[in-house]
Every structure is written in structure tokens, then in C-alpha cells.
Amino acid sequence: MGWLDANLVSILNGLALGGLLFLIAVGLSLVFGTMDVLNLAHGAVSLAGAYVGVAVLSPSAGFGDFVVALLIAAALGLVLGAGLAAMTHMVSGHLRQALLTLGIALVAGDVLREIFGADVESVPAPLGLDGSIDVLGNAYPVYRLVVIGVAAVIALVLYLLLDRTQLGALVRATVADRGMVEALGVRSDLVLAGVFALGAALAAVGGLLAAPVLGAAPGLDDTILLLALVVVVVGGLGSVRGALMGALLVGQVQTVGVSLLPDQASFLLFGAMALVLLVKPRGLFPVQGVSGANP
């Protein structure tokens, strides 16, 4: 009980970070799983979502304003995702698609810095959620608990959507065997564009939700992208469950691990990733029937 008490705040921080990383990384994972596209602009989409908060929310913004900002971020993400899907669709070859998305990410980063400046912008938590609450004797920010809850709800909805509905079956089938889905008469490119748009919308929403914790600044897009890549690879490409487990693991490594082993802090994340890849090269929860190791 003493250990839990001492590390409770770290564990909660890890859950909050894990939840945010899940929202951001699940799109990256599904886009890779369905389209084999390594979307290096994913971090930029997420940062754009965070800057929606900077542009829309005043320091006295209430809960309603925050919901409006979330809807704007989601819409922006949908548009960006559909655009990215269309642009990468015209290009063949993994490396050239990655080159294209990196180019887009560089341009987007420059444009965002031009609009919002090079300084770290903070985004306020909505009024009413900006206080602290007592958790087993520790004061803890309410907003982070809300983030954990929102991420859990979205994870559940996404799981039900993909696992229990006709549409989800279509997406899973496209991940598993695109050729067969096309042979059945489905426009797989529309499925793929839909997944890309949905994934980007989640990334933008995740970026906005993360903004009151992480802020919004140039360079954050690279950090987010690297973390999301690690999450996706650790969890296993193309699966919601993999992204969730990977995100929770990375969240804990980044908070509890760092507070327990401060000297090794900088090695922990990539050391953990290397370890997972050595033991399970296709990630912890690989999708059945997908050659994740040989895309």
C-alpha cells in the first residue's frame, strides 16, 4: 500500500498520458494496418488540433466552449485526413509515401509556426474542470481524470464499432486481406479514406485534449509522432487493442518508470521498445493474418 501511495500520482499521470497517446496513435495504427501508409504527418494533425484550442478558447472558456472546440478539431481532422488519404493514394511505394507525408508535416509545421508563433502557447482546461480533487489523500487535477474517462469511453466506442458492427467488420477485413475485400465488390479505397479521416479526427481531438496538459508549441508534433510510433510498434500494427495496450504501457514507462529510475529516464522508452521488438517482433497484440513484420 505504501508503494501505491507513493506512486499513485505517477500512475494516474501515466494513465492520462496513455489515454491521450491512445487517441492519437490509434489512427496511425489503423491507417498503417489498412493502407500500409506510414503517415509521418500524424503528429502535425495532432498539433493542429492543439492549436484549435489556442485559437478558439479564451482563459475563461467554459465546458460548452471546450465541446465546440473539440467538434471543430474533429472536423478539421476529418478534412485533413481525407486530404492526406487522397494525396497518398496517388503515390506508390512505402518510402515515397513516407517522404510525401514528411514533406506535408514539414510544411504544416512551418505554417503553424508562422500563424501561432514559436512560443509555447498554453490552453486552459475548461472552467469547472480546472481544479484539483482529493484522490486517496493526494490532490490531483480534475481535468486529467476527465481525460482518462474520455479516452476510456472513446476506446470502448471504437472497440464496439470495429468489433460489433458491419462497418467495423469491413474495416477489419480490409486490414486482413484487401484483395479479397475488393474481390467481394467493396470500394476499398473509400473504406481506407474513411479510416484515414477518422484516425486523423481522433488525432486532432487527442491533440486538443492534450493541450491543457502539454501546451502547444513548434516541435511538439515530432515528439507526439515519435511517441505514437513507439506505441503502435509496441502494441502491434493495425489493431485497436494493440494501440490501447501500447499506449498504456508507454504512458506508465514515461511516468512511473521515469520517477522510479530517473537516471535511466532517457533510455527507458526506446529500451522498452527494443526489448518488446526483440521478444515479439510483431508487437504485443498483432492482428491475426496480417504480416505486420513484412508489409
Binding site: L95, R96, L277, A293, P295
Partner: protein, 358 residues
């Protein structure tokens, strides 16, 4: 420079393809292409060697940095282009070479050959140990394992006090070429040393590319199971490619420190790895000389042209990448050799196959 030394062997840029009509016409075209390649190579070498006579110290040090970065990119091309193993980790061996060279210079010897030898040796050793694990993976997993290797090296350099931690390794003395020789402080003279290292590294990569090992590497890229089926050891091939690429990257690292006389963890960042890999794609993967041009274009835009547009180097670089993806399907190398390749294909009666898409 990509053409073969003649005879019926394939060009180093593409895998062996049966040429039904590969008689007099095709081989004479290939010979003329080889001659053209040698002439262009000689002309480029003369221009590069003459640069210090024409350029001021700053542009010359920029040219030296371009050569060192281009050699790093060549090492990425050996893996990504020739062997089909897209790597984000070559910056690790570049860093090992750079830090080893710098430490040797400070603590042991200011002789440039000693620094080069030590840097290459240590980088190759580290590549052998890490590569033994990394080449078990392929595709996206290989990409991520090498990313982890690169980032771990970056963090190691950032945390190790013996190499200056986040402040970097400073106070590296200028090189000498023979015991008791004068220290070379002029930018133009150190540039010649960097050029020499570049030529050696490029020569090693080109030689490997034309050797039987190079052909096995292309076999791994095109059809690894088939290579295994005919009794070739694909694991050994990949490991050999990895160690050679690591050694070349180490040489590039020593050239970098000789030039800048300073190395810091910032030089080993993820963005450098990403830009190195994408220089390969921009230039034309698998051709070796294409990625060199890609690297030069990238560094010139980032460090030189951006000076004229007040720090929008990343914007220009991004636009360049986007345009290149749509306009140059085979990279810059594809533009240069496209005409010749079409002619050759017409003679051979075979369709032109795209390159550089593992």
C-alpha cells in the same frame, strides 16, 4: 558512376533482368554509358577538388559538411536502396565514428588517418553487435528497431559526461596528416581531407555494389525467400551489408568532426536520420550517386537557400519533398538516367521496371 565495368553483367542500379536482344546494340550502349559515367565522375571530382580555390571559408565548410552528410546518406542507401532495409539508425554509427574520432583527437592522436581508422573500426564493431539483432527484422519493424538504436545512441551521447553530455564534445584539435606534421587549420585543406574520406567511402560502397555480395544484397531486396531457396545465406548477407554501412557511416562521422571540430547530441537527432533516409528516396534509392545529389540538394536548401527566405528552410524542404514524390517517381537519378534507360529498354524489348521501391 553506376554503370558496370562492361560485359554482360547488369548495371548496379537494377537487378539482373534477362535481355532477349542483349546483343551488340545493348552492350555498346552500356559501354558508351560506362564511358559517359566515368567522364561525368571525373568532371565532378575535378570541380569538387577545385572548390577551395574559388570559394570563401564559409561556403567551403558548408561543402565539407555536405560531403560528410552525403557519405552518411550513401551508407543509408547501401541498406535502404541496395538491400531493401529502410534504416533510421545510421545516425548511430555516424555518431559513434564522430565521437570516437573526436576522443582520439583529444586524448591520443591528432593524426587524421588514426582518427579515421579508429572511428571506422569502432563504428563497424558497434554495427556488428547491434546489427546481429536488428537484421532479424525487416520492413517497418526494421525501421523501428533502427529508430530505437538511433535514439538510444542520441540519448547516450546526451547523458554521458565523458563525452561532454548535452554540451557536446568541444576542444577537438586540428588534424595532422603525418607524425610531427603541421596542424591543418585552413578550411580548404580540411575540406580536401573530407573529400578524400568521401571518395574512399563512396568507392567502398560502389565496389560492394558491383561485387557478388552486392548482387546478393539486391537479391534480399527483391525476393529474400528465393535467395534462401537457392542456398544463399540471407542473414549473413544482411549482416554484412549492415556492418559495411555502419563502417561507412562511421567514416562520415570522423569526417564531420575533423571539419567542425565539435560534435554534440543535437547532430544525432531523429530529424537528421529522417532527412538522411529521405535524401535517399529523393535522389533515387539504390543508385548511390543519386542519393549524394539528394543529400546536397537537401543540405543546400536547409542551410543556404533558407538564409534568403528568413528561416523557412523547413517549408522549402517540405515543398521539395512533396514535388519530388509526384514529379520524380525514380528520384533525381531517374531523371538523369531515364532517357538512357528507355533507349536500352526499347532495344531489349523489355518494359522499364521502376527502381527504388522495395
Amino acid at each position: 558512376m553506376t554503370s558496370t565495368s562492361g560485359g554482360p553483367s547488369p548495371t548496379s542500379a537494377s537487378i539482373e533482368r534477362p535481355t532477349p536482344a542483349g546483343g551488340v546494340g545493348a552492350s555498346s550502349s552500356r559501354r558508351s554509358r560506362a564511358r559517359l559515367g566515368r567522364l561525368v565522375g571525373l568532371a565532378v571530382f575535378l570541380v569538387l577538388a577545385a572548390l577551395p580555390i574559388f570559394l570563401a571559408p564559409y561556403p567551403i565548410s558548408l561543402a565539407g559538411r555536405i560531403l560528410a552528410f552525403a557519405l552518411l546518406v550513401v551508407s543509408v542507401d547501401v541498406l535502404a536502396g541496395l538491400t531493401g532495409l529502410p534504416s533510421l539508425g545510421q545516425i548511430a554509427y555516424f555518431g559513434v565514428g564522430a565521437y570516437t574520432g573526436g576522443l582520439v583527437a583529444i586524448h591520443a592522436s591528432d593524426n587524421a588517418f588514426v582518427q579515421l581508422g579508429a572511428g571506422v573500426l569502432v563504428a563497424a564493431l558497434v554495427a556488428a553487435v547491434t546489427g546481429a539483432v536488428a537484421v532479424r527484422a525487416s520492413g517497418i519493424v526494421f525501421l523501428m528497431v533502427t529508430l530505437a538504436i538511433g535514439e538510444l545512441t542520441h540519448k547516450l551521447a546526451d547523458g554521458l559526461d565523458a563525452v561532454g553530455a548535452s554540451n557536446g564534445l568541444a576542444g577537438i584539435p586540428p588534424i595532422t596528416l603525418y607524425p610531427g606534421g603541421e596542424p591543418l587549420v585552413l578550411a580548404g585543406v580540411t575540406y580536401w581531407w573530407v573529400l578524400l574520406v568521401f571518395l574512399i567511402g563512396f568507392g567502398v560502397a560502389a565496389t560492394v555494389s558491383r561485387s557478388p555480395l552486392g548482387r546478393s544484397m539486391r537479391g534480399v531486396r527483391e525476393a529474400e525467400p528465393r535467395l534462401a531457396a537457392i542456398g544463399q545465406l540471407s542473414y549473413a548477407t544482411k549482416l554484412a551489408a549492415y556492418v559495411i554501412a555502419g563502417a561507412i557511416a562511421g567514416a562520415a562521422g570522423t569526417a564531420w568532426t575533423v571539419q567542425t571540430r565539435f560534435i554534440s547530441p543535437g547532430d544525432l537527432a531523429f530529424s537528421v536520420s529522417a532527412i538522411a533516409l529521405l535524401s535517399v528516396v529523393l535522389g533515387g534509392a539504390g543508385t548511390l550517386w543519386g542519393p549524394v545529389i539528394g543529400a546536397a540538394v537537401v543540405v543546400l536548401i536547409r542551410d543556404w537557400v533558407s538564409g534568403y527566405v528568413s528561416g523557412h528552410g523547413e517549408l522549402l524542404l517540405g515543398l521539395l519533398f512533396i514535388v519530388a514524390v509526384y514529379a520524380l517517381p525514380n528520384g533525381l537519378a531517374g531523371v538523369a538516367s531515364g532517357r538512357l534507360r528507355r533507349r536500352r529498354a526499347a532495344m531489349a524489348g523489355a518494359p522499364v521496371a521502376g527502381e527504388g521501391q522495395p
